[in-house]
C-alpha cells in the first residue's frame, strides 16, 4: 500500500526563518554554529588576558567557546528559576546579578552593577532606543570596572603568584611578564 504523509511539519519549519531568533521554536535545537559565540570574538577577548608575546592554540579557543555557552546557559537557568519563583515572566538584569552571586561569580557583581547603571543612565536619554550599550558606554564603564575586578582577583592570587603582575587589561599587561 501507499503511505500518504499528512503535511509533515507543524508549521514550525514553514514559519521559522534562520534570522528570526524570536520566532525560534523551543524544540528547535540551535545549529552547531549558533550554539557558540564566534570564535574570533572569543579569541580577541582571550588575547587581552595573556601576555602580548603569547599565543593561543586553536583547540583552546574552541574549548573556551564551549565553556562560554555553558556559562551563559548556567547563569540564565538560575536567573530563570528565580524569575519563576517570583511569578515574573521576564528575566531582568537584577536576576542575572543575583544568579551570578549565587553561583560563585560574586566578584563580577560589582563591576556589572556599575556597568548596568551606566547603561541605564545612558538609555534614559534615548527615547525608545536600546540605549548606548556599545560605543560610548564602553568608554565610561571599561576602566573603572576592569580595575575593580582585577583588584579583587589579584588579592586572591598573591598566595601563589610568581612575580607576575597583572595590570587592568587596557593594554599594559605585557611589560611585566617574562616567560623565560
Amino acid at each position: 500500500g501507499q503511505y500518504v504523509m499528512e503535511g509533515g511539519g507543524d508549521g514550525e519549519e514553514l514559519g521559522a526563518t534562520e534570522n528570526d531568533d524570536d520566532n525560534r521554536g523551543d524544540n528547535e535545537p540551535l545549529r552547531e554554529q549558533d550554539r557558540f559565540l564566534p570564535i574570533a570574538n572569543v579569541a580577541r577577548i582571550m588575547k587581552k588576558s595573556i601576555p602580548k608575546t603569547g599565543k593561543i592554540a586553536k583547540d583552546a579557543k574552541e574549548t573556551v567557546q564551549e565553556c562560554v555557552s555553558e556559562f551563559i546557559s548556567f547563569i540564565t537557568s538560575e536567573a530563570s528559576e528565580r524569575c519563576h519563583q517570583e511569578k515574573r515572566k521576564t528575566i531582568n538584569g537584577e536576576d542575572i546579578l543575583f544568579a551570578m552571586s549565587t553561583l560563585g561569580f560574586d566578584s563580577y557583581v560589582e563591576p556589572l552593577k556599575q556597568y548596568l547603571q551606566k547603561y541605564r543612565e545612558s538609555s534614559k536619554g534615548d527615547k525608545g532606543g536600546s540605549g548606548g550599550a556599545d560605543g560610548t558606554l564602553e568608554d565610561l564603564a571599561e576602566e573603572s570596572f576592569t580595575q575593580s575586578l582585577s583588584t579583587g582577583l589579584l588579592t586572591s592570587e598573591q598566595a601563589n603568584s610568581q612575580n607576575v603582575i597583572y595590570a587592568p587589561y587596557s593594554g599594559a599587561i605585557a611589560q611585566n611578564i617574562s616567560f623565560g
Binding site: V42, I45, S49, K58, T63, C67, V68, T90, S170, F179
Partner: protein, 115 residues
C-alpha cells in the same frame, strides 16, 4: 571549516603585531573598548532562549550576560595562562584550561564540558 579558522588565527597574529605599535601610543584607546564589546547580542540571546524554561529576557539581562561573559573569558584565560607560564610555554593550550578547572569552585559547572 578548519581552513577558515586557521586563517582567522593568522589574521589575529597579524593584528597582534600591528597592535603592538598602535597600543603603546593609545593607552586608553576607544578602539580597544569598542573591539571588546563585539560579542553579538543576538547570538547570546539565542543561547539563552535555547533553554525551554526561559520565556523572555529583557535587553538589560542580555547585556548583563554579555558583559559577564567577557569577564568570564578574561578570568578563565588569565587563570589558564598561569599554567602556561608554569610549563614555560608561550602558547595557551587546552590542557592549561583543563588544569585550572578545579582551582576555583565557580568552575565546577564546567566539569564534563571538557571531556
Amino acid at each position: 571549516m578548519a581552513g577558515v579558522e586557521e586563517m582567522e588565527s593568522q589574521t589575529d597574529d597579524k593584528e597582534n603585531s600591528s597592535e603592538k605599535i598602535v597600543k603603546t601610543k593609545e593607552k586608553n584607546s576607544n578602539q580597544d573598548s569598542e573591539k571588546l564589546m563585539k560579542l553579538p547580542l543576538s547570538r547570546i540571546k539565542s543561547i539563552m532562549k535555547s533553554d525551554p524554561d526561559v520565556t523572555l529576557a529583557s535587553q538589560e539581562a542580555v547585556i548583563t550576560i554579555a558583559k559577564a561573559t567577557e569577564l568570564f573569558i578574561w578570568e578563565l584565560s588569565k587563570d589558564a595562562v598561569h599554567s602556561t607560564l608554569q610549563s614555560k610555554r608561550k602558547t595557551l593550550q587546552r590542557k592549561d584550561l583543563d588544569c585550572i578547572l578545579d582551582t576555583r569552585d565557580c568552575y565546577l559547572f564546567l566539569e564534563g564540558t571538557l571531556d
